[in-house]
């Protein structure tokens, strides 16, 4: 992806080539040939491949109760305790739509620039599985709640991941549907246990068009979607808890030819695995086709331990879901300011315009604001939003300190975030809070301590012993020597003790000055401001 493709370019200019032995050696498959035209010399003269990736993302709606019943939505609970008679599909029960789920879907649709269908319909999708007690799932196949949207996401490219490239993926539709229960397998004893706590929880399925071309793009797009959902509050989108599930549709073809047969990859439960699964599948398909084989239109599962995809036994052949309209649910009608009927209960109305007015700032908007307000670089604002809570911490520190935000950002990202990553902590778990950091940066800004001393203080603060930066500075005697005369004397002493070096400098070898500065630093235990020391030495040497 060397040529920055901005905005409209849908098919990326990535050319894939088979990396000999990549899959068999167990090494991480990588997308080679990112620079179109630069092909590894060892490759045979095979035409380049282009990969096409489409995603189906299921996001669990953040609500108190389920979409069609009044049982609670909660991740951990005793098995089958959050199940109503409807969820267990006992006869005589009917679905009743949860208003909050409709609002969540409308918010998400508006945030992704979709057109909201004022009339949408519910259908039944039939298939047999133990965790689907009714034998069908209520979904929206014919006329979903939102269609034709767009998601912009950013990729960090370049040698140091510093160049930002904006890409787009079209959103085909967003639909409301039910989640299924959970099945736990004990293969040793051939037992399957079913927990229906999750059955009936509201889901938003976001279908993305196949505008992506590799694992990295897929992961970046899903990350951006995750941030948007979390900002809206329509879903907490925590992949580890199964609140965000991604199925990838992958196919390869030669540029200029029609799309190849696609496979669906399931069972991906983190962004990193998503990128790896997609890249593996692309490589597998390329290898298969180059060896003269064919690709089956099948469903494969990602085995994260082996880092490969394997066919799923249960899903052989094309499924016929026998879609039919859900007879128990009339069409869902949404209103806007113009079409709002006069005398209708507020509770029964979902007003699209009302929701639009109350949409919070999306991540992309926040990034631009940070750059404009604080003068930081785009990649910095990208990092600030990428870590939960980091933006708030940064803004708090800037508020409390006199240091220029452009310098503060360096400390927040390199030092604080660096430490957090090293100890695998989230921003919320940070032993150093915004006030402590602000105090420290103020000391640095006022010239009380040097930059390297500040780093030492941060290390001490990290221990979380409750001391303030000032206390640590005093304890460890890290203050810079402010007394001019004291500095002067030390410089003089160093010069007198190293006459040879002094001669060399006077003869014209300026580099030796650094050695003298170093010696002064050692003599002062690094409590001298190097710039000041240099000034003093230069003045003395010129005398």
């Amino acid at each position: 992806m060397a040529a920055p493709v901005s905005g409209g370019g849908r098919l990326c200019r990535l050319a894939w080539r088979r990396r000999a032995g990549a899959l068999h050696s167990g090494a991480q498959p990588a997308a080679l040939g990112r620079e179109p035209g630069k092909v590894a010399a060892a490759q045979s003269g095979v035409a380049p491949w282009r990969a096409v990736v489409g995603l189906e993302v299921h996001a669990q709606i953040s609500s108190n109760s389920k979409i069609f019943s009044g049982s609670q939505v909660q991740f951990t609970a005793p098995p089958n305790s959050l199940v109503s008679f409807f969820d267990a599909s006992l006869p005589g029960t009917l679905p009743v739509l949860n208003r909050r789920c409709v609002e969540a879907a409308v918010m998400t649709g508006l945030a992704l620039s979709c057109s909201i269908n004022k009339k949408s319909l519910f259908d039944r999708k039939h298939y047999f599985y133990a965790d689907l007690p009714a034998g069908y799932q209520i979904t929206q196949q014919r006329l979903p709640i939102a269609v034709n949207g767009n998601l912009s996401y950013t990729l960090c490219v370049g040698a140091k991941q510093s160049q930002m490239v904006t890409k787009n993926v079209r959103i085909k539709q967003i639909q409301l549907e039910q989640d299924s229960g959970k099945s736990l397998h004990n293969d040793a004893r051939s037992q399957t246990f079913i927990d229906l706590n999750r059955a009936g929880v509201g889901l938003m399925e976001v279908v993305m068009e196949p505008d992506m071309c590799c694992g990295e793009e897929a992961a970046a797009a899903v990350r951006e979607l995750q941030l948007i959902l979390q900002t809206l509050g329509s879903s907490q989108a925590i992949m580890a808890e199964g609140q965000l599930r991604v199925d990838a549709n992958v196919s390869v073809h030669h540029p200029g030819e029609s799309y190849g047969v696609r496979t669906e990859v399931k069972n991906i439960n983190s962004l990193r695995f998503l990128a790896r699964a997609v890249d593996y599948e692309i490589q597998r398909q390329i290898e298969e086709l180059e060896n003269g084989g064919t690709i089956l239109n099948e469903t494969r599962a990602f085995d994260y331990k082996l880092g490969c995809t394997i066919p799923m036994r249960d899903k052989e052949g094309k499924q016929d879901y026998r879609f039919m309209p859900e007879p128990n649910l009339p069409p869902l009608i949404l209103y806007d300011a113009k079409s709002l009927p006069a005398n209708i209960d507020d509770q029964q109305v979902v007003n699209i315009d009302w929701i639009q007015e109350r949409l919070p700032d999306l991540p992309s908007v926040k990034r631009v604001r940070l750059v404009e307000q604080y003068g930081i670089l785009p990649e910095h604002s990208f990092t600030l939003l990428n870590e939960d809570g980091l933006m708030e911490l940064f803004e708090d520190v800037v508020r409390e300190t006199q240091m220029n935000p452009k310098k503060v950002i360096g400390w927040v990202i390199s030092e604080l975030l660096g430490h957090l990553k090293q100890y695998d902590l989230t921003v919320k778990e940070s032993p150093v809070n915004s006030l402590s950091l602000a105090d420290l940066l103020n000391l640095l800004e006022r010239g009380v301590i040097s930059s390297s001393a500040a780093k030492q203080v941060l290390e001490e603060l990290w221990k979380g012993e409750g001391k303030t930066p000032l206390q640590i500075v005093k304890e460890k005697r890290l203050e810079l020597i402010q007394n001019q005369r004291e500095l002067d004397q030390i410089c003089q002493a160093v010069m007198e003790g190293h006459q040879e070096e002094v001669m060399e400098i006077k003869a014209g070898n300026k580099k030796v000055l650094n050695k003298l500065i170093g010696l002064v630093q050692r003599a002062t235990q690094r409590r001298a401001d190097p710039i000041l020391v240099k000034q003093i030495l230069e003045k003395k040497l010129s005398q």
Binding site: S84, A88, L97, R100, L121, L329, P330, L332
Partner: protein, 156 residues
Amino acid sequence: MWALRGCRCLRAAWSWGGSRLARGATGGRQIDQNPEWQLEEQKPLPQKKVTMELLDHLERLALVDFRNWEGVERLEKAIQFADQLHEVNTEGIEPMDSVLENRCLYLRGDNITEGNCTKELLQNASQTAEEYFEAPPGNIPLPKLEERESFLQDSN
């Protein structure tokens, strides 16, 4: 057979005009004397043949067992009967997929009102283990058509 009985009822009901259904036995008052629409000449209904592949597909999907050729014939007759719907001209008319289409879809507030009935739910299940339902292992697909012994078993 129910299919034949159904046929007779449908023909009786077909003397509607202005979208009013005949009220059966009472006849008379409800039947429009000047119908807008006439039943056309009764064409012989086309025979619908059901292929083995379709039967296999249906058995796999809906887990029904057609059992023998009589069952297949019954299926074919049922399809024939339903095909009569094609006689009605529906050009330019929006399909109705729910009789509730003019009703408002009631929206429920997001409150927790149900749940916590684990014991009652598990009562219905034949196999349970520590508050989980126990299900038979995986989805075992029906064997392929050639390998199945029970397909159309009782045919002679």
